[in-house]
């Protein structure tokens, strides 16, 4: 197997606790290819941010290693751009100056004019213009601040972009437009992205692959869900893709009923808990296509969104097929209504 562009090998993070230590996650292994957009979903507190900080080099892992293009990640570097949930713009600098800060750090030899022009280009790319460039972060709306943070991260042209719930604090409308912009920019730049989100729809819209993380402590990555929906994608039309609801249901089902049972602490003796290496690959959309061509809509509705006991792990692809068959009856519109409250329950 070719080495991946980004290789995460049996990563673990432990913090000293009152008694012994707290293992936030362990045995986390996965890879990311160049140009791939990977999202990670998991309940709050399972250790997503901790993983991202390790990837960024801001935090050292307790075990395991991170390789980027074959080189070990040992500290923060300009080849990895980061956008945090709380924007982390420097409040005493204007929007433009915040981006220029990054650009000047990335290319110390550049003239001020060149730094400025480069920064402006990226600010315009995320839709910041008409004087907003000169305003301080405090005078910008949350959405605009996050645009500045994204512009700063893109402007340094990193090899890997790390996003930690970048839209978590935004209202739905703003989030939608910035998602569109991110989609557009990523399509143009073929940026490699690793993004944390708790929004299932956001993950499906943006990602090529979605990693599902079990609850902590001793969290691990249970599945790698392929989002086989053609690009270019659009927020409005993606829900009509036949693959959309199978994927969505799979993700929601995982978050609602399976994520807990799979954590290392919940079943330390059970089969499957000793599971090592990369997470199981699941492709609900593809499985749904296969199933619908087989034509078995009989046992359709029912367990799509309902709480099923955790019988998932270790069953391999067959599970994915049977699981997704239930959604393949084309009743997508009904279900989108149905899953509304459920999604809200998940979006804690």
């Amino acid at each position: 197997m070719n080495p991946h562009f980004l290789e995460i090998k049996s990563l673990a993070k432990r913090f000293p606790a009152k008694q012994g230590e707290l293992t936030v996650f362990e045995d986390v292994s996965f890879g990311i290819e160049k140009g791939e957009f990977v999202c990670i979903i998991g309940h709050s507190g399972c250790g997503k941010s901790t993983i991202l900080n390790v990837l960024a080099g801001l935090d050292a892992p307790s075990d395991g290693e991170v390789l980027m293009a074959g080189k070990e990640v040992r500290g923060p570097a300009l080849e990895r751009g980061i956008v945090f949930q709380n924007y982390s713009l420097l409040p005493w600098r204007s929007a433009l100056s915040n981006v220029m800060f990054g650009v000047a750090a990335r290319w110390p030899g550049w003239s001020k004019t060149r730094v400025r022009e480069h920064s402006l280009k990226y600010l315009h790319m995320v839709g910041l213009k008409d004087g907003a460039e000169q305003r301080k972060p405090a005078q910008l709306s949350g959405g605009m601040r996050q645009r500045v943070a994204i512009a700063r991260a893109f402007a340094i042209e990193p090899k890997l972009l790390l996003l930690d719930e970048p839209f978590g604090a935004l209202d739905a409308l703003t989030r939608g437009t910035i998602q569109d912009e991110l989609l557009k920019i990523c399509a143009e730049t073929h940026q490699t992205v690793f993004m944390i989100t708790h929004d299932v729809d956001e993950a499906i819209l943006l990602a090529d692959r979605i990693l599902l993380m079990t609850n902590g402590p001793q969290a691990r990555i249970a599945e790698s869900v392929r989002v086989s929906i053609e690009r270019p994608r659009e927020r409005g039309s993606i829900v009509h893709d036949p693959g959309y609801y199978p994927i969505r249901t799979h993700l929601v089902d995982f978050l609602v009923s399976r994520s807990h049972g799979l954590s290392g602490s919940a079943n330390s003796g059970a089969p499957g808990s000793g599971h090592q290496g990369p997470p199981r690959i699941v492709d609900p959309a593809e499985a749904a296509r296969g199933a619908s061509s087989l034509g078995s809509p009989s046992n359709a509705i029912g367990n799509a969104v309902s709480n099923r006991p955790s019988h998932a792990i270790g069953k391999g692809p067959s599970n994915a097929v049977s699981h997704s068959t239930s959604n393949a009856n084309g009743a997508t519109d009904d279900r989108s209504v149905e899953s509304g409250p459920l999604l809200r329950a998940v979006n804690l």
């Binding site: 801001l58 500290g75 923060p76 420097l90 005493w92 990054g102 750090a105 301080k136």
Partner: protein
């Protein structure tokens, strides 16, 4: 609305001042008509030796004559108010500047390193509450120069607020911002000047503002002790002359200069203050 409010405030201030000055003026009896001086009075240097609180009009008269020629120099005991204030300002600014040179880097160090904070904290806690004037005898003995000693006293009194506020401000810089510096591969110096300094600047300048206020309080007392020049010496000298008009005038001048120093640092603080 706001504008009319501030106008009203001005009107209230002015009326309070007029009422206060008016009552003061009325309560001070006019100086008695000049009588022939007794021989004793002549020996003692004139009738003015009868100490009494002067009226506001006398003070205003003195202020006009002093301020119209603030820099005259007629010997060691008769210098213009401008010269005296200039000496005091020179000592305050020198001592304050030296203190800043030490306190800011040291405060940075303490703020950045919890170990250094723990190591230096006991010294700071013991030295901080010492009245700056208590250092004067030691300073005079070691330095053997009254001029430098008063600068030293200013130095020692203005160092603590600056040191503590700098350490506090630096330690309180949001971790996110430090991480921004780290992810942009800034070196320690760049991080200090581009991220930590601007982030902590409002706190640091607040410390400097407290320091300069204390320094201006202390310089008056220090100059009363060592004498020679300066506004503190001037006040004490006029008290010895029983010239209460000059005493009150110089008290007012001390207040005005202190206010200007504070205003200067307040506006500097405003320059570096940011909204989160």
């Amino acid at each position: 609305m706001l504008k009319s409010d501030s106008w009203r405030a001005v009107i209230v201030s002015v009326s309070l001042l007029v009422i206060f000055l008016g009552l003061w003026q009325l309560s001070t009896p006019a100086p008695q008509a000049e009588e022939a001086l007794s021989e004793y009075e002549l020996l003692m240097g004139g009738a003015d030796q009868e100490a009494r609180v002067p009226s506001p009009s006398e003070i205003i008269g003195l202020a006009i004559s002093e301020l119209s020629n603030p820099f005259y120099d007629a010997g060691p005991n008769d210098k213009g108010i401008g010269i005296q204030l200039g000496w005091s300002l020179y000592r305050v600014l020198t001592g304050f500047g030296l203190a800043a040179l030490i306190a800011l880097p040291l405060g940075f160090l303490i703020g950045m390193s919890p170990m250094m904070y723990k190591a230096l904290n006991p010294f700071i806690q013991v030295l901080k509450p010492i009245s700056p004037l208590a250092w004067m005898p030691l300073a005079l003995f070691i330095i053997k120069d009254s001029e430098t000693s008063s600068i030293f006293v200013i130095f020692i009194c203005s160092i603590w607020p600056m040191l503590i506020n700098t350490a506090f401000g630096v330690a309180g810089v949001r971790k996110d911002w430090v991480n921004v510096a780290r992810t942009h591969e800034l070196g320690p110096m760049q991080t200090a000047f581009q991220v930590i300094l601007p982030a902590a600047a409002p706190t640091i300048l607040t410390g400097m503002r407290i320091s300069i206020g204390i320094a201006w309080l202390v310089i008056v007392a220090a100059e009363m002790l060592v004498g020679g020049t300066g506004i503190g010496y001037y006040v004490w000298n006029e008290w010895n002359n029983l010239d209460l008009t000059s005493v009150i005038f110089s008290i007012l001048m001390i207040g005005v200069v202190g206010m200007l120093l504070d205003l200067a640092l307040a506006s500097a603080t405003r320059l570096v203050t940011y909204q989160e």
